[in-house]
Symmetry: C2
Subunit: 368 residues, 2 copies
C-alpha cells in the first residue's frame, strides 16, 4: 500500500476514529486503526466491538492496500509531523514507513485482514437532526446516566421517536433527565437504548454545526450515526427501558420562579463545604419571596437567601446539591421554574412546553 | 476582628500566600493563612517553615485583630463568593463569619497567636532585578535541578553576584544550566543556594512585568524577595556549591550552527517512540551540511535530517533526548550553536557572550 495525504486530513481522521479504540483489550488488533485503501478511497476504521467508527479522508492512493497500525503510536506520529504531505508505505511484512518532509518513521503494522470490520447494518428507518441538536441533547442528559454496570439499562439513554418528536431520557435511580426535540418530519415509532459511552464519544466528534445534519438509522441491535464523511455504528442495550410516565406528575403544591444563575452560583458555593464522597444535603427553605439555602458540614456552615416568585405553600426540603447543579448547568434559560409537592416527593425543573424536564428526588435530611 | 475588603483584593492576596502553605504537615496551624489586622493594615501570611510569604491587601479594618483560617477552605470560599465586598468577622472563640452580599459562611478559625511568624531578617545586602528577569531566569534554569533529596545542594540553584553580574546555576549530575544577568549596578560578592521549591513558587507569584522590580536581600541563612506588596522569605540550602568552572571548557572539535525550532521539533517527534522511563538515546550523526537524528525502540524507528553549518570534525554522539529538549525550549534565539569535543565529552549549547551555557553529558549508546 502507498498513500499520500495532508497531515491535517490524516490527523482529523485519526482523531475521529480513535474514539472507538478501546483503552484496554485482550485483542491487540482492536488497539489498531485500519487504513483501508483497497478501493477508490482512503477509509480509516476503529472498532471496539461495541462501538465502531469509520471515516473517509481525502488523499491519493498510489498503490492500493490496507494496514492496521497501533492507534496510539500512529496518532502521536501524525500529530507531531510537520504540517505537510504525509506518505504511508507498507511492505509485504506489514512494515510501515511514514514519511513527511525529511522525517521518516518506521513502525510494525498488522495485517488488515485480521481486523474486525464494522457489522453490516440494513439501513432502513432513519431520522435527521442537526449536529448541533444532537451534541446539545447529549450534553443535556448524559450526566444522569448511572456509572454502575449493576443495571445495564441505566448506563444508556432512551432514544424514542414518536411522530415528529425525539425524546431522550436518562436516569440513575435518583433523578431523571428528559429532553424533547422537534424533528422536521414525522416518523414511525422507534424506541432504543443507546450506550452512554457511544453518546459521549460521538458528542466529541460532532462539530456542533447547526447547518450540518446527522442521519440516525435504527436497526434491530444497532444504531448508526452518519455525518460528514463519518459513520458511527453502536450496539444497543437490550431490554425494556423504565416506565417513567408514572413517575411524572404535573401536580404541585409549591411553584418557584427563580434566577437560574443566582441559584446555581449559590449551590456551587455551598458545595465547597462538602468533601468528595460526603452526602451532605443542601437544605432549602421556601418562603414567600425568598428561598434560603443552608448547608452544614464539619468544615463549617453556609447560608444564603435568594429572591423568588412563589405560588403555593411554604416548604422545607433537602437535596444532594450535585444533582441540582448538574441539571441547572445544562438549562440555558435565564429563569427557571421549580415544582414541589412535599418534602418527600421529587422536585421538577421544567419549562412550560416540557422541552426539558429534570426530576430530582429529595433527601431526608433529618436522618443524616 | 472585623475587616472589609473587595473579593478581588482578597482573592489575589490569598492566591499569593497560598504558595507557602504546605500540602502535608503534622502541624495544622501551618495549613492556615494568618489574617493580621492588628496594626494599620491587613496582612496575610503563610509559612511552611522553609518558605514564608506575606502580602498586604487593601481594605478597611473596622475592629483590629487577627485570625488563622484553614487555607484550603478559606481560599475556596473567597474564590466562589460574588465579585463584591467581603466582610470577615471573628468572635472570642475564633468562630469566623465571612459574608458577601447575601451569602454567609461560618467556619472555625484558630488563634493567630499560635501562628509561626516569618523570621526576622536583617536586611542589609540587596540587589535589584526586574520581575520579568527573575521569572525568566527561573524558567530557564529550574528544569535541571535534581528532584532527589540524596544530594540536597542539587535541589537548589546557585545565585552568585559578582560585580554587576548575577549568575544562576542549576545541575543534576547529567547537565548544567547557567544563565548570566547583567545588573544595573555593581555589588559585593554574594553566593547562596536557593531551594528549587522557593523559586518555583515565587515564579508563580511574579507578574513578569519588566517595569516592576524585585529587591533581593541576602542574609546568613535566608534570602528575601520583596516586590509589590509581597515579601517572600526562604531558608537557604547550606553547604558549598559544586565547582563548575573546571567542567566548563571552550575547546571544541566540532561546532554546529542550527535552526533551533527545527532541531527541537525533530527531537520532540523522536521521543514519541520512547516510552516513559525508557532511557533510549537519540543518536546524532554530524556530517558536512547535515545532521542526521535517529532513534530506535521496540515501537519502531525514526530518522530525520536537518541542514546545518558545521566547522570541524564529523561526529557520532548520543543523548538523552529530554535533556536536549529541556535546554532548547528555554533558549529564545532562532539559531543556536552546539559545541562538541568527542562522543564521550559534554556538548555545550551557548551563545557567544555566554549569557547562557547549557552543558549536557552524552550517553554511551553502544552499551545500551
Amino acid at each position: 500500500m502507498k498513500i499520500i495525504c495532508t497531515k491535517s486530513n490524516l490527523a482529523k481522521g485519526v482523531g475521529i476514529v480513535s474514539k472507538a479504540v478501546p483503552s484496554k483489550t485482550t485483542m491487540p488488533i482492536l488497539e489498531c486503526i485500519l487504513i483501508d485503501a483497497t478501493a477508490s478511497m482512503i477509509k480509516l476504521t476503529a472498532n471496539d466491538m461495541e462501538l465502531g467508527i469509520e471515516t473517509i479522508i481525502e488523499g491519493d492512493i498510489v498503490q492500493p492496500g490496507m494496514i492496521a497500525l497501533d492507534a496510539k503510536i500512529f496518532s502521536e506520529i501524525v500529530r507531531k509531523l510537520p504540517d505537510s504531505e504525509i506518505v504511508i508505505t507498507t511492505d509485504d511484512n506489514d512494515q510501515t514507513l511514514i514519511t513527511c518532509e525529511k522525517a521518516k518513521f518506521q513502525i510494525a503494522g498488522k495485517s488488515g485482514s485480521d481486523f474486525a470490520y464494522l457489522p453490516y447494518i440494513e439501513k432502513n428507518e432513519s431520522i435527521l437532526v442537526s449536529q448541533y441538536t444532537l451534541k446539545e441533547v447529549i450534553r443535556q442528559t448524559i450526566f444522569s446516566i448511572a456509572d454502575t454496570e449493576s443495571n445495564k439499562l441505566m448506563t444508556g439513554e432512551l432514544f424514542e421517536v414518536e411522530d415528529h418528536i425525539l425524546k431522550v431520557v436518562s436516569l440513575d435511580g435518583h433523578r431523571i433527565s428528559i429532553r424533547k426535540i422537534e424533528l422536521k418530519a414525522s416518523y414511525d415509532h422507534k424506541k432504543v437504548v443507546v450506550p452512554g459511552k457511544t453518546l459521549m464519544e460521538i458528542s466529541k466528534i460532532l462539530s456542533g454545526d447547526a447547518e450540518s445534519e446527522v442521519q440516525i438509522y435504527f436497526a434491530e441491535n444497532h444504531i448508526v450515526f452518519e455525518f460528514d464523511q463519518t459513520v458511527v455504528v453502536s450496539r444497543l442495550i437490550e431490554g425494556e427501558y423504565f416506565r417513567i410516565e408514572q413517575m411524572l406528575s404535573s401536580d404541585y403544591e409549591t411553584k418557584v420562579h427563580i434566577n437560574k444563575k443566582e441559584l446555581l452560583n449559590c449551590i456551587d458555593r455551598a458545595t465547597l463545604l462538602v468533601k468528595e464522597g460526603d452526602k451532605r444535603p443542601i437544605i432549602i427553605q421556601i418562603g414567600d419571596d425568598t428561598m434560603e439555602l443552608k448547608i452544614q458540614s464539619q468544615l463549617g456552615s453556609m447560608d444564603e437567601e435568594i429572591f423568588i416568585t412563589k405560588e403555593g405553600k411554604d416548604l422545607l426540603i433537602g437535596f444532594n446539591p450535585k444533582f441540582l447543579i448538574d441539571a441547572l448547568r445544562v438549562i440555558d434559560d435565564e429563569e427557571v421554574t421549580l415544582y414541589f409537592m412535599n418534602s418527600k416527593a421529587p422536585c421538577f425543573i421544567k419549562d412550560e412546553k416540557e422541552t426539558y424536564v429534570y426530576l430530582i428526588l429529595p433527601v431526608n435530611f433529618n436522618a443524616i
